[in-house]
């Protein structure tokens, strides 16, 4: 009997650098006040971070709460999303001249983050609206976000966005055109990623009490989902991201311990 677990190789893709970035994000997040707050501790909620325990914040000596909120949002995106970037970065490096590879990845990351920063503002607005709607209806906000996320997960549009996340980039090789293409690839990949992940990101935003554990669960689910093969875009009953892969991984582990 062997206890070696034969995970699909793609699960081994994320490079050490990406995993380190993600891990650093997860370590930083609580220090930035996440999960330690009693009130609506949103990633990017303007007023609440001011009330957060000051230890880590003071160390960073960031005066502006909005700046800090933005910073913590970026840290969260880094924590949750960097493992998902293994495939596009590998493809990007393969299509870049060796001496341009670092620069290409940096430009890609800049474009990608820019999209998530913009999306952050939209998400905070949306989650505030949902919270208000929930109060108005007397429902838990979680019920509303879960419904939105489930419907979105079932929709063909989301699957086609997810398929586009797998699309290898088309990049110029030389000069300014190459730089622009790498940045542009970051932007477009960011857009498809936001479209794919957004309703799930609303979940921790509208459920402050379980913010961190929810985020962790969602990241794992989204990562598993990214490993699955592309499907034709059509309505589906698979409303949990990564449910298919989780099943296969489980069977695969049983298989390898037989």
């Amino acid at each position: 009997m062997t206890w070696r677990i034969a995970l699909p190789a793609v699960t081994r893709w994320p490079s050490r650098a990406l995993l380190a970035a993600s891990l650093a994000g997860w370590v930083l997040l609580p220090l930035l006040g996440h999960g330690a707050q009693s009130s609506a501790a949103l990633c990017l909620s303007y007023p609440t971070l001011a009330d957060a325990p000051r230890g880590a914040l003071a160390a960073l000596s960031v005066a502006d709460d909005t700046m800090l909120a933005a910073l913590s949002w970026i840290v969260m995106v880094v924590a949750m999303m960097s493992p998902l970037l293994a495939q596009p970065i590998v493809q990007l490096r393969l299509r870049s001249l060796t001496r341009r590879r670092r620069r290409a990845v940096a430009l890609f990351a800049a474009g990608y983050l820019a999209i998530w920063i913009v999306a952050g503002f939209a998400l905070v607005t949306a989650s505030a609206a949902i919270t208000r709607l929930a109060e108005h209806l007397g429902w838990p906000a979680l019920a509303i976000t879960l419904t939105i996320a489930a419907i979105w997960q079932a929709a063909p549009l989301r699957q086609s966005a997810l398929n586009r996340c797998h699309r290898p980039p088309d990049l110029s090789a030389f000069g300014l055109a190459a730089d622009l293409d790498c940045f542009g690839f970051g932007l477009t990949h960011g857009v498809w990623c936001v479209v794919t992940c957004t309703p799930w990101m609303l979940l921790p935003l509208t459920t402050p009490a379980f913010h961190l554990p929810l985020m962790l669960m969602i990241s794992i689910a989204l990562l598993l989902e990214r490993i699955a093969p592309a499907r034709p875009a059509a309505w589906t009953w698979r409303i949990l991201p990564g449910q298919k892969v989780a099943g296969v991984l489980l069977r695969s582990m049983q298989w390898s311990v037989r």
Binding site: V10, W255, S256
Partner: protein, 530 residues
């Protein structure tokens, strides 16, 4: 007793192999598509498009189908563009053969019947002809020939199936030492790219799936004369995944593809890496659930199998071997031969080659890239790949006999790079099309006169599905990688490699019009070294 799969062109005059094949097909065709052992369900396992089948008269629209024809499942199971291509098709052929054998034995036929193969050997012109028994609509007694189908239009659409040696090269197969590639590298392997599950991006086809597999599909199927190859009903059955399995020749074609896999395993080259010309030992390939194949049995039930269970064809569950798996004309050490060509003294070449075989793992670097997409149509299309000076210099350095021979000075031995031309994001409105790719052809020269500049052949088999933006590949198209090491070596020796760009010429071998929207999104040149 191990059954023997025989060469269809070497069957003795009174041989009954094809007679029984036809008899079994006739029986399987009478079974309804709802029966997993019917001709129709067996073909649908490879692929089905219900509307197309109805239009072509192979499916009754009134029939309630047992599986959703738009979904991947028991039907539409075929594995293309993946390292599962070969084991899946072997399991598929094995299940098919078992069902036919059952019918044949029940009809009083031989218990050692086996599926023959069509060896379109590029060195034997007579073997490139379409097997005669499949070509006639009627048999001598005036009855319908079960081996015949109407929808075989051939190269130009007039029904003449002509295959030329340059359409079905096999030398590149023996040079591909590794069975599979990792998805983070340029695909250069024999058997395809590691894919987590089936049907990943259209980038993972191995050498054997690319050629001769693809061109034979297209050159048999083709498109009807005067028809439009963008319209599926105008295309031959063999031209498309969704219909290929209906044509009886499909099975002899894949039998040969399976045979070439056995041949590849017999290749032994000196100084090759330890895993060269061997099947993967990776558990993910051998028996992971992701690589499970569901196959029908003669009694109508199904069973599940994996690559591990199809590696030995003589195992009782498969119980066959091929009449001939020899690989003629292989140099004992291609590396030594290459070093000699590059100018390394014969006395040193052996020592050097031995030292290289212990070199570090391979590295892949992009050397150049085309500026824009190229539309392929008409008689020929010219394009070029712009080179990066730094990367090209590095490549040239590894080709220099002098630097290779500096080993005595204690420098780390660096083997000469191999060079690949990757054609990426090949999109198309049709599945039918074959074109040749020439590299560094002299200006104005007739391509036919320069076989030494022929990098390879590309087919569009499967391109349409990979090109649909709404499809699972999100329109990323096909990728095909052609080895151009020999061409680049020749350029280096002729002093032509000190160049800013390398010319590429696409020469269609089947009618390809502008309307077919056949585009090569990017061309990239990669060097791969140790």
């Amino acid at each position: 007793m191990v059954r023997m799969r025989k060469d269809v062109w070497k069957l003795p005059a009174n041989d009954k192999t094809l007679f029984w094949y036809g008899q079994a097909i006739a029986v399987l065709k009478t079974r309804p598509i709802t029966d997993k052992t019917s001709w129709w369900s067996l073909a649908a396992m490879h692929g089905i498009d219900s509307q197309l089948w109805i239009d072509l008269g192979y499916l009754d629209p009134a029939v309630q189908l047992p599986f959703d024809p738009t979904k991947q499942g028991f039907w539409n199971q075929c594995q293309h563009g993946s390292w599962y291509f070969l084991p899946w098709h072997r399991a598929y052929l094995g299940a098919f053969e078992a069902i036919l054998l059952d019918v044949i034995v029940k009809k009083g036929g031989p218990a050692d019947w086996a599926l023959p193969y069509w060896n379109y050997d590029p060195t034997v012109p007579s073997a490139l002809k379409f097997p005669t028994a499949f070509a006639a609509e009627l048999l001598d007694d005036g009855s319908k020939n079960p081996l015949w189908v109407k929808e075989r239009y051939g190269r130009t659409g007039n029904g003449n199936i002509t295959i030329r040696p340059t359409d079905v090269p096999v030398k590149q197969l023996w040079r591909a030492a590794e069975f599979f590639d990792e998805p983070n590298d340029v695909p250069t392997s024999f058997g395809g790219t590691r894919t987590a599950f089936h049907h990943d991006a259209g980038a993972g086809a191995g050498k054997l799936e690319q050629t001769p597999h693809g061109p034979v599909h297209n050159l048999v199927g083709g498109t009807i004369e005067g028809g439009d190859s963008n319209v599926s009903t105008d295309n031959g059955l063999m031209s498309m995944f969704e219909t290929a399995g209906i044509d009886p020749i499909f099975w002899l074609h894949h039998s040969n593809i399976d045979r070439l896999w056995e041949s590849w395993l017999t290749v032994h080259q000196l100084q090759a890496p330890p895993d060269a010309h061997k099947n993967p030992t990776d558990l993910a390939w051998l028996d992971q659930p992701a690589g499970q194949f569901v196959m029908p049995q003669p009694d109508g039930t199904t069973f599940t199998t994996t690559a591990r269970h199809v590696l030995n064809t003589k195992d009782p569950s498969l119980n066959y071997e091929y009449q001939d798996i020899s690989v003629p004309g292989q140099p004992a050490s291609p590396l030594v031969a290459r070093l000699n060509r590059l100018g390394v003294a014969p006395a040193d070449a052996n020592t050097l080659a031995g030292a290289f075989s212990m070199a570090s793992p391979k590295t892949t670097e992009m050397v150049g890239q085309s500026a824009a997409a190229v539309r392929i149509s008409g008689a020929a299309t010219e394009a070029s790949v712009q080179l990066d000076d730094v990367a090209r210099n590095r490549l040239q350095g590894t080709l220099s006999a002098r630097s290779m021979s500096n080993l005595a000075l204690g420098a780390k031995p660096t083997p000469p790079d191999r060079v690949f031309l990757a054609l990426e994001n090949i999109t198309s409105a049709t599945d039918v099309g074959v074109f040749h790719v020439y590299v560094n052809l002299p200006k104005g020269a007739d391509p036919e006169q320069h076989p030494e500049n022929l990098a390879g052949v590309v087919s569009l088999f499967g391109a349409r599905e990979a090109s649909r933006p709404a499809g699972p590949h999100a329109g990323s198209g096909l990728t095909q990688t052609l080895e151009i090491t020999d061409i680049v070596d020749a350029m280096h020796l002729a002093g032509d490699l000190n160049t800013q760009q390398i010319d590429v010429k696409f020469v269609p071998q089947t009618p390809i019009s502008d309307n077919n929207k056949v585009d090569v999104g990017r061309m990239r040149i990669y060097r791969q070294g140790g």
